[in-house]
Symmetry: D2
């Protein structure tokens, strides 16, 4: 259709394409409002005619990001259609600065689709990160665990079907479905809050399953507002925050000389020196990797070949809904 | 302890008492900031010395409520500790203007406590309200349904224990626990947003289980800010909203005569007359009960005898957590 | 440009047109995301293919509005460019659920444009509504008042020019500009929160000057989402809220008889009867007009002939900025 | 009064004391909910009995701050009564995650009190920071500027008095008061959002006048939640954020060796090397001061001797309200 609104070709290209995530989930970009130019336009409160060079837009966007002037990026909005396991939805919903419409299990029958982790992702509790996974797969018990899960799901699914076929209120029938059951929603958020979501949810400390969704959404955002995305990667995602004590440590090791930065000859800080600066053992554990070799940078590019039409998922969902003959 | 902050004796009396809700849940008022006087003080932006008569405070609070001047009621804040089934938590969390800290199943082992509906509350899908219960119990299949539920829970609970005893990451082990599993959180909200929560969640269209929580919280609020509570009952909870067409209907039936209101002699509106005014069939279905006999008013008074000390629930929770011997 | 996003022809028609408001202000619709169909799509969490009849969309939207299911309307977003006096901006900014980028008086020189009320709008303090105008113009002193205002503005403007020409920091130079000085911003909000803004700001209790802006924005919204707009008019704007006591009064005057509504023969409530039901004198004052003859309904249609191109205002602003020769 | 709520002696000591800010403004801590222990309690979702050692609470709070787990700090709330010039209020109100009740110029007569900058703070536009002050006082024109300001204020004040004495609606009479006029409000915010406010508003880029308020509020917060305050200073206020390119620069100058950090012998980065890493000239300008000598740390301690009783300000305000004999 024709529009006088700002459009972005790279975003238009993926609009309405459904990208698979995990075994039954998906993310689709349904609509977007604005792009990098609209961030600039809001920052300048300009009248929107005339043209700016891309290099000027880039400079401004990077300046805004660096100085945490975040309100102009609130002027861009993205709307997604997403399908994810309930335990993922429960983490996701904690981001309150978004608009959500979730399918209702009180009103609709739910499809009996459940998330099953891949063998590689089936891991032990991490010993260091007290809430995540260790990084190595528990291969020996994987088959056994899956078989047990399948039994829970079969029983829970059969029970759900039995209850709704006996006309039990859906709001009650659903209460013993497992947290691995898929749900879906529309989710709309502005660029500023989406960056915060992505910073938290692409992080290595986030649960693997929600990271899978966040990575696809990052790829979508990269197409909607590429300069803002680049600035976010450079200043947030791949940047680090240093505390007062960490900064004090660095000041012992390097110095400013005119417009040059130079290493202080012979300077060295052993663990006890860091401790003397106020760093706890745990903080030292966290500081060293920050300064070690740079991690490889994730590109977040979408695999267009993986995208599906909406109908693909609509039919899979429909097929998984219990068939019910209500008692007369 | 001594404080110079405003206190309310009726609220102090229940502070830290844990009120049971459903079979394993609870609500406790943990802290509160301000009372009716603080709503007035904010509305007047006054210096807080001197005293006002209660009747004046009541008049102002009712005026504010009537005219939807809601910002002064944002100056009162309540903090709760709550324990509820996950499917209730999922409805509750939709109220975004609140602060939440929920127990983490990634970090902690979860107690295996599940919600079991009482026979009276085990009902068929409503034919009229498309998302709720019919109002009559499905007695015939209750025992069977409970037995089936128990099997799901036993299996899901046993599987959870098996997984964590094999050191599977907790964030994965939990994913097949049912939505009936209890969780808990701290929840903090201001008076204005709490009123909105209570309006939505004490309503007959809300799911029975969340209404049970909302009613207890209404009783707590009644003790924190009784005049604001009374105004909410009179203007919101027991008031009604009339549309333009409904109002047009009323204007055919009654008229203003000086300072009197009087019925228009012989006036009558049949269903077709209401339809001619623009009311759909469904709207007529909704209008008539609004004007029929007044419902009895719920008092929302707390039963202090039911309250428990925190330890009561803390021990029950602790006892329901799986005992785990991690493999060496 | 081509887009796969949902578009609305009536909205496209006004996109980027600047509508004058008051003597120097304006409102322009800069962008929009979604329309009525997107409210329905979110409410159904549907896949967006296939088509629905408009009558079905209308029925759903009216149902949602009537039952205050407001989250689907959060899925539509509007972005405006607005220019208004600072005292209007100060009322407007109180609506916190919006995104704002205002021109900065620390960074930019401000145009010396000031709002001057028309003779008709120059009125005495209302005796009944304790914060508004009486409704009748103070003709006798209007010319005198304007002359006095002009002197304040001339002096304040001259002083601002003097300060910035002496290189005084702009953040300081501006502090004695009057509240009537025009400012401008980009303002973005979702449909749900915009309806709330319009309910409050088109109301007769709102200050005349902000109502002038709200009325134009209502006209814009009517083009973006006409069915939602109609439902808002019917249920919110032209509806009324009745308290428990007011409802009790109505129940004395009319009754439900099967599917009919009828006036109770001979029923009459004098002021003392209303008082006995709990209505204060002030509430009676407020109730009677609600039930008297229906007010004529405002249509909120935009006058397209009044619209200007952006350049019109951009040039006027530019011309009003002080010319400054900074001291070398 | 007696309370079972958590109290903090250092906060109780200043409760209700009014601290002067600028020439006529003030900040008072009116109420608070919770302290450091409540942050911990929320993070652990604990039952609140038993005791933790302060060192454990400190460790947890620092961990939460370091890892940006901010929701537990939303469980502490502070309420302030503040009086500030309108141009300061306009910056302040941009922080939307707060509750506000401002005195209404539509309802009340406003006191004619205006902010007058001290000679030291009367400075030229900064050449580097494009929106702030240069740092050096414009002594030569200060007296002249003040005299001019006084004339604007006298005229604007006299005009306001004339208008209200002729019964002009207050909402109109006020529109030519200058932005330097003092207003006041109640303002309530949670700890997490207050930290954000303080980070932005104690910063050297914030306007001097709002920094004066932020510093006093920081001193109040230090008394309400000292461990959280200390963590904020160490990790936020005195910490720095490094971008990907800045981090790359550091990695050339120092290296991790086991548990030691050491300077790379002979390493040096000239401006062109920094540019080659992707740093713009402006970024280099910003990076060097971050790594130069540590700034002295501000303590934010309150001067209790400066505090006044509420009556002190109440009387000053009252005295500055125009005396009006309304025409009969």
């Amino acid at each position: 259709m024709e529009t006088r609104r700002p459009t972005t070709p790279a975003a238009e290209e993926i609009l309405g394409l459904y990208f698979p995530v995990l075994d039954h989930g998906f993310v689709a970009l349904v609509d977007y409002m604005g792009s990098d130019e609209d961030v600039e336009r809001a920052a300048r409160v300009s009248y929107g005619y005339g043209t700016r060079r891309t290099s000027e837009t880039r400079g401004l966007i990077r300046y805004l990001r660096r100085h945490r002037h975040t309100t102009p990026s609130e002027m861009v909005e993205l709307k997604f259609h997403c399908c994810m396991p309930i335990f993922v939805a429960r983490q996701w919903i904690r981001h309150r600065s978004a608009n959500v419409n979730e399918v209702s299990g009180r009103y609709s029958l739910l499809p009996l689709l459940f998330y099953r982790p891949e063998a590689d992702d089936f891991q032990a509790q991490s010993a260091t990160n007290r809430q995540g996974r260790s990084g190595t797969s528990l291969t020996a018990i994987y088959a056994d665990a899956i078989a047990r899960w399948e039994r829970v799901r079969e029983l829970a699914g059969a029970h759900y079907e039995w209850l709704v076929s006996h006309d039990v209120a859906r709001e009650l029938a659903r209460i013993d479905l497992p947290l691995s059951t898929y749900t879906q929603w529309y989710w709309k958020i502005d660029l500023h809050n989406l960056f915060h979501f992505l910073s938290v949810r692409t992080d290595a400390h986030a649960q693997y399953e929600i990271r899978a969704f966040a990575r696809v959404m990052a790829g979508m955002l990269k197409r909607v507002a590429p300069l803002s995305f680049e600035a976010w990667v450079d200043y947030e995602l791949e940047g680090v925050h240093l505390s007062r004590a960490e900064l004090a440590a660095l000041r012992r090791l390097l110095r400013v000389n005119g417009r040059d930065l130079e290493a202080v000859p012979g300077a060295r800080l052993a663990e006890k020196d860091l401790a003397a600066l106020g760093l706890s053992r745990r903080e030292i554990d966290e500081l060293l990797p920050k300064l070690a070799a740079a991690p490889s940078v994730e590109e977040f590019d979408l695999d267009l070949a993986a995208a599906r039409v909406p109908d693909h998922f609509a039919r899979a969902m429909e097929a998984a809904v219990p068939r019910v003959d209500r008692p007369k």
